[in-house]
């Protein structure tokens, strides 16, 4: 009888959902994450509700992370990557490397004493972001005096639970699993690549992701440098989507841009918001109504500007073709938000080589055939979420569940016999 455990690679929303779904069906899961915390991109997204929920689904993520972390069938392996794979469906052997994090997740109680006593400047040991799971402090090798050869031992001595350990080497281990779900997610398009849009040069040109994080942290929008409330904001769509290098629609940008714009309008109704777009992707449940509601108060301009310049007074000048007036216009804004798209993960190529699965032309993992988006060319290796192609959160969730379903079907439903119980409260 083959092995029925499953390895899920990547702990973003899709990976977590796959793992949870498998665990609920009685399968033991290894959840592999290369970072120190789970959750991926979606964990940092902000709530975009106005007086009603805007269905951005960002709030689902922390809920699911919590559920996954406490699930006894899911074993979490952070700071870990795959080194080698052998075997086949029902009997894979995966070699993984786990980088030391120097602070024991099981023992750290996030008391903060280590940060307090750390003599390095900046501090070499610090708390993770607030929404991080596991909520375990992070020791940065680059900053830590001890890793620079000094004899510092202060944090270790002060730790009340003895969670800090320096003498650790990367840990190698081999897992035996029956199937693998790849859920490595995406990379956010690096807006610096579009130099003419000024991201990275002008302080008031932000990406949609920056905006998400500002809202998560502060709860309201202020200009990065002056700290003032912006009065005139432009969103530029399709930055890193639907161009020569990206032959696809990222599927999320229209939604998040419009929802963020709606949130800004709700918080400060006098703010002027302009959205420059190619085509509005308003399909999807409830979203068409959302658009109807905002199309009067937000100025939608067809056509995407290609250049942003900063004026002497620090405002941002955007040149665009005003189609209704039939001429090139320029308008100034205090804040320009680039709706950056979803790019394939940088590490996909390496992982594809290790796993022996194919990459499609666009850089995402390829599927066996065009319709069944969970299956790869290797039996027993499945795809979940945005590593297969752009998806919003609900689609990623559905795709994650579907990957779990395909995995169970592939493993022949043997898990049913071992199934204990679940579905309690």
């Amino acid at each position: 009888m083959g092995n029925n455990d499953v390895l899920v690679v990547g702990s973003g929303i899709s990976g977590i959902i796959s793992a949870l779904e498998l665990a609920n069906a009685g399968v033991n899961v290894y959840l592999l994450e290369k970072e120190a915390v789970v959750g991926g991109h979606s964990a940092s997204f902000c709530c975009k509700a106005t007086n009603v929920c805007s269905k951005c689904s960002a709030c689902v993520v922390p809920d699911k992370i919590r559920e996954a972390v406490i699930n006894p069938r899911i074993r979490l392996l952070t700071n870990s990557t795959i080194k080698k794979l052998s075997g086949e469906l029902g009997n894979f052997r995966v070699e993984i490397t786990q980088q030391p994090r120097y602070i024991d997740v099981e023992k750290c109680i996030a008391c903060g004493l280590c940060t307090e006593v750390c003599p390095a400047d900046p501090k070499a040991v610090y708390p993770p972001t607030v929404e991080a799971t596991p909520f375990c402090y992070i020791l940065n090798e680059v900053l830590c005096l001890r890793f620079k050869g000094e004899k510092c031992d202060i944090c270790r001595e002060n730790c009340p639970t003895r969670a800090i350990e320096f003498e650790l080497k990367p840990k190698e281990q081999e897992l035996s699993v029956g199937a693998i779900i790849v859920a490595t997610g995406f990379d956010v398009f690096d807006a610096r690549k579009k130099g003419s849009l000024g991201y990275g040069r002008y302080a008031n040109v932000l990406t949609g992701l920056d905006l998400e994080q500002i809202f998560t942290r502060e709860g309201y929008l202020r200009l990065p440098v002056s700290g003032e409330e912006p009065h005139n904001i432009a969103f530029i769509q399709c930055v890193g989507s639907r161009d020569e290098d990206h032959d696809y629609c990222s599927q999320v940008c229209c939604k998040y841009a419009m929802k963020l714009a709606g949130l800004i309008k709700y918080q400060s109704p006098d703010t002027k918001v302009t959205i420059f777009y190619i085509d509005l992707q308003t399909a999807g449940k409830g979203f068409a109504q959302f658009y109807e509601e905002y199309k009067e108060s937000i100025w939608f301009v067809r056509g995407v500007p290609v250049e942003i310049l900063q004026t002497a007074s620090g405002e941002l000048e955007v040149r665009f073709e005003n189609i209704s007036q039939g001429k090139v216009c320029r308008d100034t804004f205090d804040l320009v938000v680039l709706s950056v798209g979803i790019s394939p993960g940088k590490n996909s190529w390496g992982l594809a080589r290790i796993l022996g699965i194919n990459l499609a032309d666009d850089g995402f993992f390829d599927t066996k055939d065009s319709l069944s988006s969970n299956e790869t060319n290797v039996d027993g290796i499945f795809l979940a979420g945005t590593c297969q192609g752009p998806k919003d959160i609900p689609d990623s969730v559905a795709h994650g569940i579907a990957a779990a379903s395909k995995t169970i079907q592939a493993l022949g439903g043997v898990a049913s016999q071992r199934r204990g119980n679940q579905r309690g409260h």
């Binding site: 709530c47 509700a49 009603v52 929920c53 269905k55 709030c59 607030v130 929404e131 502060e218 709860g219």
Partner: protein, 128 residues
């Protein structure tokens, strides 16, 4: 009269939001007392009235965003009940709408603090 604010917090939204506010060290008035409930729709009129009988200065009912209730309409029911409670209280001379309902999501700690501050303001204005 203890002058506390009693907050009924839905465990799907307001309660985690309050936790997050703590993690972010967003401070709010100390006289807030949280009662965790499975859904804002579980908060009965009598729970709110009893809080006042016990000397609460104000009551907050905090539930999921409109349209995101885990139990479809628990939050809208709660909103109706809050309105009803204010009416009942007004009948007996307790003016100033001391019961308030706010909707928020679990990842909106700022909104939680805003809700607490807002009810504190209402309370001050009505001089209770």
């Amino acid at each position: 009269m203890n002058g506390c604010i009693v907050a009924f917090c839905c465990e799907h939204s307001a309660y985690p939001a309050a936790d997050l506010a703590g993690k972010l060290r967003l401070h709010y008035p100390e006289n807030l007392r949280v009662i965790r409930v499975p859904c804002a729709g579980q908060v009965d009129v009598i729970h709110i009235l009893k809080a006042f009988e016990n000397g609460a200065a104000a009551v907050l009912v905090l539930g999921c965003e409109d349209g995101a209730c885990h139990h479809i309409s628990g939050n809208t029911r709660a909103k109706e009940r809050v309105k009803y409670c204010n009416m009942l209280l007004k009948e007996v001379g307790v003016d100033g709408r001391p019961v308030a309902m706010f909707n928020l999501s679990p990842n909106a700690p700022h909104k939680f603090v805003r809700a607490v501050n807002e009810i504190t303001k209402i309370k001050k204005e009505s001089g209770r």
